[in-house]
Every structure is written in structure tokens, then in C-alpha cells.
Amino acid sequence: MKYQSQKVAYAYFLVAMGLFGIQVLGGLLAGWVYVWPNTLSELLPFNIIRMIHTNALIVWLLLGFFGAAYFLVPEEAECEIWSVKLAYLQLIILVVGTLGAVGGYLVGIHGGREFLEQPLWVKFGILVAAVIFLLNISMTVLAGRKTAITGVLLTGLWLLSLLWIFAFINPDNLSLDKMYWWFVIHLWVEGTWELVMAAILAFLMLKLTGVDREVVEKWLYVIVATALFSGILGTGHHFYWIGLPAYWQWTGSIFSAFEVVPFFAMMSFAFIMVWKGRRNHPNKAALLWALGSATVAFFGAGVWGFLHTFHGVNFYTHGTQITAAHGHLAFYGAYVAMNLAIITYAMPLLRGRAPYNQVLNMVSFWLMTGGMAFMTFVLTFAGTIQTHMQRIVGDYYMDVQDQLALFYMMRLGAGVCVALGAVLFIYSQVVVRREIITPNTMPKAEGETA
């Protein structure tokens, strides 16, 4: 840790990991209810459990992004954060808002637009927190060195905050409601968040591999260009069946087919940088998470998205378990894993000691990644059967669901695996043990130079 104010990130990461735990437990409970549907059905109905699962996810990912920004911007700009107090104030607002929202959900106070169920005062709180954040980070960047990493990161964070305005716009016309809702949902996860993800990945590659900044930053621009060129009009793949004009079918199909490109580029970038890099960084777990994130994002967001993005296919698969499969692996690979990568990289520095609990951390990576992969596979099979029975044969929804019971059991098993991984990850970060892995204890292979 080169700058004292980077310490702010520590608080953000701790709260983020706490909410990560809540998110995973909520998911576990939801998976349980799929298998034993009478569980808590009157006390805590499925819709409330799901709200907690998705909202906790979104908030902790955002907290992770904020923490990442507070951690990496001082190093990039080579100066302290503009106001540490404001950074803590922003965190307090977000924590109070989140606890208020979750508490409200438990007693039935919530909105009804998916993922945007937060009461109005919480939405305003998020807006205020975002404004504080943008002010704080922008002033920091303006005062110091400007790099491509901070430029892309700030562009992403500014745009995602601006898009939050659409969380307040809820037309009475359902089709318009849906169209503007996607301005937040799609343009976040398939647009602006990709900028944040790519910037964090570029920062990690710079630090972990030691490759020249010029090379890293040129890659970064190419990646984010392909992300927005495909992602903006790619929004059309959500506009096929909600009452919008037919031209979105071709627009959405063509542009969203290219949404696989930035994820392929990020994966290639990560591996090429590691091959080219000369640095042997001791934090192997951070490198595993960074490479793992880029790879799983390529499969989850890229390949699994491509799978059902053409309107001819989507006509049959829209709103089935195929969507659930894609959603889980995409979020995990792109945003969960990238957040865990930067947390893994930053925590030893923030706590002022060598990377610790690396083996436990890496085990948690394989537990979570293996679990999510298995969950994605079983949900894809479930979705394929559902698509055929319900969308082609025309069997009724609940009759079809009864046929999918085995897949939902396997999904619960996969979920247990992910939850164990999450607990292990948090343990490996928070609880310090005296384990330090020394790199390069192996004798060099023949022909190895570095």
C-alpha cells in the first residue's frame, strides 16, 4: 500500500464480503425451496428470498467496484484520495440503505420492478452515494496522473451512475417500463460494468505480470471499444418480445452476437500478458482469480449468452432455465470473480503483510468455479427440456417443472459447493494464519530463463 488513503478500500471489501455471504445463503435457500417447496412458504415466500439473493449480489458487486476504485486510483493517479471522510460517508449511506432495504423486504416493503425493488429513499441514497463517489474519485484523478486505466474506469462509473436515473423512471405503460428498465439492467451488465471489469483486469495485469503499460492500455481500449460497440445496440436482444418494433430482432441478433468479442479479448489479453510477463508475483491466488474470471466470463457471458441470443432461438428459450443458467455463470465469471480477484490482490497489501492463506483461497476458487459450472450445466439441461416440452409441445408450466426435479436437486448440490467455497474464501481473507507460500522453490526447467 503506497498511499494511506487506499485503506478506505479495506472497509468496502469487508462489507462487500459480508453481503456476498448473505447473497450466497439466499441463493442456497432459494435452491432448497425448488426442491422442498413448502419450506418457509408463508414466513418467507420465494419472491422475498430471490429479492435478497439478487439485491445483495448487486450491492456487493458495486461495493467491490467502489472499493477497487478507491484502491487502484491513488496508485494510478499517484496521489491520495481527495477526501477520505467522504469515502467513509458514502460507505455508511450504502450500508444504511442496504440494511434498510433488506429489513423492509423481510416485512413486505418493496417495489416490484425486478432488481430495482428498493424503496424510493434507498434509491435516492444510492444516487447520493454515487454522486459523492464520482466527485471524490474524479477530483483525485484530476489532481494526479491520468492513465488509460483510470480514464476507462471513470467512464464506466460515470455512465453507470447516469443510467441509474432510469431506476426512477417507471412509466404506466408496461412495455415502456420494460424498455427503460433495460437501460439500467442491460447497459449496466453488458456495457458500463464491462468497462469497470476491464479496467480492474488491466490494473491487475499491470501489477501481476509487469508487462509494459503501453501494451496493457492499448489492449484495454480495444477491449472496451468492442464491449460498447456490440453492447449498446446489443440491448436489442431484450427487445424482441416485449412490445417493441420488429427491427430489434435483427439489430439485437447481429450486435449481441458480437458481445462475445470483448470477453474473448479479455481472456486472450489475460493469458498473453501472463505469458509475456517477466514478473513472478507472490500473490498466485490473485493471478488465478484474474485468469479464472476472464475465462469463466468468456464462457458464461460470451458463449452461454451467444447460445440463445439469436431471435430465432430466443423465441423458444426466452424466460426458461436457459436464461437462469446463463445469468448465473455470466455474473459469477465476469463480476463476482473479478471482484474476488481484486480483493485477493489488495487484502495482503491493505493489511500490510505477505499474501496469506493462498492455498485455502485457491481451493475456494475451484470449489466455487466447479460448483457454478455444474450448476450452469444442469440448468442448461433443465432449460433444454423445458424449452422442448413447454415451447414446442405446449405442456403446461407446472407439469414441465415436475419433470425437472432431478436437475433442481443437482443444482442444490452445486449450490452447496459454491456456498462452501464462498465461506472458505471469506475465511481465507479475514482470518490470518501463518502460512506463506514462497514462490520459485522448484528448480528451473531446462531452457527456462526468467
Binding site: 425448488y34 422442498w36 417447496p37 413448502n38 412458504s41 408463508e42 415466500p45 420465494f46 419472491n47 422475498i48 430471490r50 429479492m51 417495489g111 416490484g112 420492478r113 425486478e114 425493488e117 488509460a148 404506466d172 405503460n173 408496461l174 412495455s175 415502456l176 424498455m179 503501453e214 492499448k218 481500449y221 480495444v222 471499444a225 460498447l228 460497440f229 449498446i232 445496440l233 431484450h238 427487445f239 424482441y240 418480445w241 416485449i242 412490445g243 417493441l244 418494433p245 420488429a246 427491427y247 430489434w248 423465441f315 423458444y316 426466452h318 424466460g319 426458461t320 432455465q321 437462469a324 413447454q390 415451447r391 414446442i392 405446449g394 405442456d395 403446461y396 408450466y397 407446472m398 417443472q401
Partner: protein, 150 residues
């Protein structure tokens, strides 16, 4: 690649290209907004009842179990065409009564079945909800869903 594509060129392509696509997207959105209002949802007036129904739909967070036009949670049936499925699309009174009867019977309490909660809804709200779902059902969704099963 390194000769032709310098870092500053890559940056300019990113910012310039993104701006171009944002402009195209905004223009298409404006057209789509008008299309929704004048064409695809014009089959039935957006009455106060429909709007009330949408608020009821939102207050009880139905979207976190059901899908509506295929969007939402995948725990319970699609409702964008439920009025077609019930055969009451063109009959407001029958739509209300079917809806009222269904909601009153929840939760079923059957072991091993997914449970829909009981919702405290006034008759006026219930009528609004039925009208809202009838309104959603008449929206031109480009022929989706493929079957009445939703």
C-alpha cells in the same frame, strides 16, 4: 498492429465509436417509444384500472416468482398470456372472477407443490390486476410466446 493502431488511435476509436452507437441507440429508442404508445399497446386503453393493477402487481413483487413477457423469475408460470390461457381475454367480468377465485385459493398447502402466498387485495385492486393482465395480454409481442403454455 502496433504500428497502425497506436494507443491514442485506440482511445479515439473507443470514445468516438461509442458516441456514434449511443446516438444511433437514442434515435431507435425514440422511435420505439412512439411505436409502443401508438401501435403495439394501442389495442386496449391504458385505463386507471390497468394502472392500478400495475401498481398492485409491483407492490406484491409478483415478478420475483412469475415471468411477464418472459422476464422475471422462473419459479412460477408466465402471466403475459394468462388471460388467453384462462379463455377470458375479451371478458373483463370473467377475468375478474377467475382471478379472484384463484387468488382466494392460495396457498394450496399441498405437500411438495410450489406455494403461492395469500395476498390481501381489495376487490377494486383485484379488478385492476385482472385488467392489467388483460392489457398486457393484448400487447403485440411479435407472436411470443410460441404456445399458450407461456
Amino acid at each position: 498492429m502496433s504500428e497502425i493502431l497506436t494507443k491514442s488511435r485506440a482511445r479515439n476509436i473507443f470514445y468516438g465509436g461509442s458516441l456514434f452507437f449511443i446516438v444511433v441507440f437514442v434515435i431507435m429508442t425514440i422511435h420505439s417509444h412512439r411505436y409502443v404508445v401508438n401501435v403495439s399497446t394501442a389495442g386496449m386503453p391504458l385505463s386507471p384500472e390497468v394502472i392500478l393493477g400495475k401498481h398492485v402487481w409491483e407492490r406484491h413483487s409478483c415478478i420475483n416468482c412469475h415471468t411477464l413477457h418472459g422476464e422475471g423469475a422462473y419459479f412460477a408460470p408466465e402471466l403475459g398470456n394468462v388471460m388467453t390461457r384462462w379463455g377470458v381475454l375479451d371478458d373483463p367480468e370473467a377475468a375478474f372472477e377467475t382471478m379472484d377465485g384463484w387468488m382466494a385459493a392460495q396457498p394450496s398447502g399441498i405437500e411438495g407443490r410450489r406455494q403461492m402466498p395469500f395476498f390481501e387485495i381489495t376487490p377494486e385492486e383485484m379488478r385492476g390486476l385482472a385488467e392489467f393482465l388483460r392489457w398486457a395480454d393484448q400487447t403485440d409481442t411479435q407472436g411470443w410466446p410460441p404456445t399458450d403454455a407461456g
